[in-house]
Point group: C2
Amino acid sequence: MLNRGAIQHCKACGAAVVYRLPDDGDTRERAVCPQCQTVHYENPLNVVGTIPFMDDRVLLCLRNIEPRRGKWTLPAGFMELGETVAQGAARETHEEAGAQIEMLDLFSLMNVVRVGQVHFFFRARLLSETFDPGHETQEVRLFRQDQIPWDEIAFRTVRETLQRFFEDRERGQFGLHQIDIQ
Amino acid sequence: MLNRGAIQHCKACGAAVVYRLPDDGDTRERAVCPQCQTVHYENPLNVVGTIPFMDDRVLLCLRNIEPRRGKWTLPAGFMELGETVAQGAARETHEEAGAQIEMLDLFSLMNVVRVGQVHFFFRARLLSETFDPGHETQEVRLFRQDQIPWDEIAFRTVRETLQRFFEDRERGQFGLHQIDIQ
């Protein structure tokens, strides 16, 4: 899901940037503009989504876009400005699955350091079996644990979240799972 | 802590961008380059820090930089690429306070929608009373609850976190606090 090219030009004035330590005591090299002195920071991005469930079944979306077109995923996407983590997760569920949900607790919080991302998944109770997938989704389907296409899951964070969801469901108690994905 | 000017030029080629809907079905206006078609996304930033404590006292840092120079804060700063949320929180504690800590659980997770930030604070046990503040900190001091300078706290997320920390400490049980700051 990484979608970031290196910064080559200043966002304020368009001059070519140089990578160096800024003058403010910062200890990391940044893209600094030699014309207007703007310092450009690059930071991790948040990915927010839900585990929409109904009784013993979980909703998955068949991806219609790259990366991992044709693989199954939980509804999730990049958090946007102007929303909370939970609002973003609800928005993605609406956009990708057109599902009616009641948002429940945060379930998994995962660091994906290699791609500079933090993933958040909330449990969400499905209120209806009627869906309306958006253009990013080929198909929406409900799966019982023994029906999950484990080898066809699009992302490791989704697989790890689903595994823990079914484990907790069997135990009858849901916790917050903090996981570092290597 | 917001530090983002509007994108006016393309980071890839330097041409002046236009704000419009991208061609991929996105529903938000983005800074799009009319020359090379690069789409520029702006997303929330994570701020990561700790509540360093020793017995009934909490470590605060007197800020030596703007914003809020001369106000007290918990050690915290922007999460960087190449680290987990917890690693970033430990790094900031080292950089701003020079404190030796044992990292404990995530304590507060706060949406600050107005400035496009998500704040994470972890409890951290102080292993020593020797500190070595960096250039961003004028002074490091330990405060009991009745000594906290509540009117001189730099940021609302820090005040909310401290209040809940002392409440949970009195109760004898620490939870995860999810808070939306208006």
